[in-house]
């Protein structure tokens, strides 16, 4: 029974891994193809099925004048906007979530749960509803087509995710930890920074990862709120498309764009797999 179960488990994991890895291998293989290799039927293995070429990758580094898209600048823009917006969202979101978790707010019929729902409700709205207000506001502030404008918009979009995750996290942290810190001589601000925050890293990492995924993959606002001065990676990748779809360049761009998220996921994996609060309350 044990061997059968183990075999079944490993078979399931192997099949699932193939589902996950196959698209990456496909994209990797395609990124080294050219027009003929892509259109000549199913080919998979370089040097055996087709002659590999770096053309798909070179396009990403060439300037538009040379027939490329040069994704380096959009790439760096995306990293800057996503990281800064995620950082601000986590910072503000954690503080807001802590307040919503620990203090009671009441204004008429509006209470803590309503405020938390108000935050997340902004993610429930279709993005297109926000597009025109954002466009007008950034226009009036002179921040259209700027990195700062995009950071501001992404903070608005990402902070609800941070608040939502962190409220749930703080609700599970026993309030007695905060109280013990107060009794041990911390004022409320010291209690937050010296005790609550160091123990909230797993929650913040999860929230940060979600913020980065949402920020990094957004195309809609990156497309609407930028014109010629600033371009983010998703928009740059789309601009690769022409009358003939360059699958090789698109595959290379897809791999390049997904790489940072994979790196981040590997770095924070240890925080995702174990909480740090297991010893707070046994």
């Amino acid at each position: 029974m044990g061997t059968f179960y183990t075999t079944l488990k490993y078979t399931a994991v192997t099949i699932w891994s193939m589902f996950v890895i196959a698209p990456f291998l496909w994209a990797l293989s395609t990124s080294f193809k050219d027009f003929n290799s892509v259109t000549s039927g199913a080919t998979y293995i370089p040097w055996v099925d087709f002659e590999p070429t770096l053309e798909g990758w070179r396009v990403l580094l060439r300037s538009p004048a040379q027939g490329g898209v040069n994704i380096v600048e959009p790439y760096l823009n995306s990293i800057f906007v996503t990281c800064l917006a995620s950082f601000i969202s986590i910072l503000l979101g954690t503080l807001a979530a802590y307040a919503l978790s620990r203090y009671t707010f009441k204004a008429g019929f509006i209470k803590n749960d309503d405020i938390t729902f108000f935050f997340i409700s902004q993610r429930i709205m279709p993005p297109v509803v926000l597009a025109i207000p954002f466009f007008i506001m950034l226009g009036k502030l002179g921040l259209l087509d700027t990195l700062l404008g995009l950071v501001m918009v992404y903070v608005v979009l990402l902070m609800p995710i941070a608040v939502w995750i962190m409220v749930d996290f703080f609700n599970k942290v026993p309030v007695e930890i905060d109280e013990t810190a107060l009794i041990d001589g911390c004022n409320p601000i010291q209690a937050f920074f010296k005790v609550v925050l160091p123990n909230s890293i797993p929650g913040m990492v999860v929230a940060g990862l979600f913020c980065m995924i949402f920020g990094w993959t957004d195309f809609f606002f990156a497309f609407i709120l930028t014109f010629t001065e600033v371009q983010l990676l998703p928009v740059a990748i789309v601009s690769l498309n022409s009358s003939i779809t360059p699958w090789w360049s698109l595959s290379a761009a897809a791999l390049v764009s997904v790489a940072p998220l994979i790196v981040v996921a590997f770095i924070v994996e240890r925080y995702l797999s174990k909480g740090n609060l297991s010893g707070a309350l046994k």
Partner: protein, 359 residues
Amino acid sequence: MTLIASNLTTKGKEEFFLNDISFEMSPGKIYTIIGRTLSGKTTLLKTIAGLIAQDSGTLSFNGNNFDVIPVWKRQVAMVYQQFINYPHLNVYDNIAFPLKQRKVDLAEIKDRVKQAIEQVGLEGFEERKIQALSGGQQQRVALARSLVKNANILLLDEPLVNLDYKLREQLREEFKKIFSSKASEEAILIYSTTDPIEAMQLGGEVIVMDEGKILQQGSAKEIYENPRSTKVAEITNDPAMNLFDGEINGKKITLNNEVILNIPKHFKDLPDGKYSFGIRASGVTLDKSGFPFQIELAEISGSETFLHLNNDQIHVVGLLDAVKNFNIGETVKVSFDIEKLYAFGSDGILMSSPYSGTK
């Protein structure tokens, strides 16, 4: 260095968490607050710590108004029933935390932490992460952190309740030793519990609470011998004192129209009439010449057996000073030791006890 509470009241939406609580506590003593769950024990401790602000009433310590001092400036330490520690710090840093927070000299911190670690028996565990400790060890860390401060008031909120039986017994003994040395250092120790045995074993002054009110305050012996009311008798006994409606008629006592007993000497001054009678499990024993009862449940506890007995009118818990198995539904004969009977008035107030005669 006296802690004085005057008319402390904290009200929830409908119920009182604290209802007109007044007391005076002196250093060098252990005060054990006993009450059922939701009786207001934790609220009272948190109010003393400054974590909850009372709606009305005042707290003063050492002649000064305690209410205006924020939690972090009060010389108070607290141990919770959950094992609350700082998971991101190791054992040493957990215990040193309150001292570092108060910017105590590093060499002194080292000495005091070492001393506290020795007191709670955690030598060799200094570098361990909290997560790597057992429940009992975690609670020792919490206790060490509260001791290291040399606080004027040490609050212990059911610190043993989440431990297994053996460890609870062991730590209770150790607590007593630690407290006796701590008490000599002029600290007020306030220990809350739901366990009557724990309250009696710790000795000191016992405060009985229910529904936010103090029902009785006195020495453990006094409360055991003369519980002021049926409620106190229920709360301070495990199993709860058996209570029956009954009446005194001439030289006889009738319990629930079922059991007729001779009147004991200490009831001699009570006039005929209706009363609530109480008797502890130890006063109800098996006796071939007694009244017939059916066994509902037989609980073996250590070297004794608690018998839950029932007949048509009366449910009673008796004690057999031996370990014995019984069949459920088995009929046994039970006698009531009239010299251990208590009489309470119709309002539940003690009228006569075996220890002090008629009140």
